[in-house]
Amino acid sequence: MSIALRGVVKSYGRTTALDGLDLDVRDGEFFCLLGPSGAGKTTTLKAVAGLERPEAGTIEIDGRDMRDVEPYDRGVAMCFESYALYPHRSVYDNLVSPLRSPRHRLPPAEARDRVDTVAGLLGIGDLLDRMPGRLSNGQRQRVALGRVLVRPARAFLLDEPLSHLDAKLRQQMRAELKAIGDVRRTTTLYVTHDSVEALALGDRIGVIRDGRIVQTGTREDIWYRPYDTEVARAFGRPRINLLPGTVTEAGRFRSADGAFELPLPVRAAPGTEVLAGVRPRDVSLTGDGHRLPGTVYVTEVLGRSVEVTVRIGAQALSLVADRAEVAGLRPDDPVRPAVRPENLLLFEADRPHGPGRRIGRR
């Protein structure tokens, strides 16, 4: 099933949640909608589900205009960020609720089978008699997911389903989610503020900000060709290095304090104020590339690798290196990290009213 939103506007009182949002989700794909809180992610989902009525724009599912189609007629299943488990019903009753509804009604025995299957799949088979109030966050999340999976649906709408879980559980669930067959086969619109999650899960990713889609694309598109500095910052930990400077007559990048120059992979007008972006994992201490003179400022262990922040003039550049490579390094030790020009991203400088856009195509 495909989902298409065209110029959707929705506001609550004076605040605008969706400001002319356009979005296309193709049949069968796992689409991640990524954005900070308040960007309009949940509103988008609810608009698709029919729970919110947009003031302008159209929402189409499989090419059919959904205006005036009631939520229960849209054939979508949604998992709420709050889980929205019915607190007065047991886990089993929560799970079986869709199968008792007039729309999806199954004979009790079949419903029971179906619930057991889904519960088994999610590992919550022994919780069925409990009340939601007596479950851990992780268990609640599974129940919420189970309630989505238990019924036939043309699309899944998942709103930050993993956000309340602790890191380890989140990683595990992420893997499980993708492995569930139904999810793999069915169009899924997945909302998250976590870029790692988006990169891990999404066939395609849409970045949403202030009620509009900033960029849509595959994870490679988003990673290598971010629309602007903010999208670039949103993906990758440690964060991308954004070094301020200008473009020289020769088409090279010169840092703001003039401490170093770099060759640029794209052409830009000389004298333009720019930000040069390079991801810490693309900077190395030992590999090839354009070398920059600096001193070690601070090192931070990230498990097997180490983040090293290098001071180059007035700039700080962080890079990720193997532990072995940095074994002897102390603060103020001189180092010469290497940057490969093809890994450089060039952005317009950030302005007060918005982040700087990426310059050039590649």
């Binding site: 709420f80 019915y86 007065h88 309630r147």
Partner: protein
Amino acid sequence: MRKRLWGWLADAALLLYFVFALFPVAWMLILSLKPADQLFSTYFSFTPTLDAYRTVLGDDEGIPFVRFFVNSLVVSLGAVALSLVVGLPAAYASARWRFKGSEHLMFTLLSFRFAPELTVIIPLFVLYQKLGLFDTYAGMVWVLQLVTLPLVVWIMRSYFADLTPELEQAALLDGYTRRQAFFKVALPLVRPGIAAVSLLAFIFAWNNFVFPLILTSHEAQTVTVGALSFLGGDRPKYHLTAAAALISVVPPLLLALTIQRYLVRGLSFGAVKS
């Protein structure tokens, strides 16, 4: 040491208030146990008797108190039930949707609660006579909406507002209709509120005086007017009024004790979140 002293003082102050609050009730109990001829000549030492209760519950004074009691039950429960049936959807709608005029309607409803009864009593009397509602249960249930409906709508609105809409939305996506979502999800979850507001509305309807005084005569007269009826004649029979008042406290008291926990919550929700 100082802390404990303050604790004692606090307990003493509390006790003082409860003496103030409970003494009149105790005094009514004492009055109701006095024989008629010791009503004014004795204070605390008298020959206790249950005559007053026998007289009130029997029909010796020509005042069918038991019937008034039943009337009060029917009328109060009816008023509360109608307010719930009509008020719950309204409270729900105004909590869930912002729509034109909703705030005005809500405020107008609230202002009924504070309207002087005398404004409507004569027009209502004329109207009721014409419509044949005078001295009927239906008439009383209708006029008591002035008392109960604003309460139900305002308190229940806060309860609904307090309930995340996502639960009902989840039900909608589960394949239920709006109506089913309301009845199967929203309503069961505000049950404590319903209990609390029902009790409050019941008490206020039960204690109302002016409306039954003017708008009923015999068939639908209630306990408040009935209890006062003992104050006529050659001598006011305070002991009978006290007994009648104490008997008429029983239903709201029973109701209150069974759902006291809800009551405290009910009041607070209705109060603050509006």
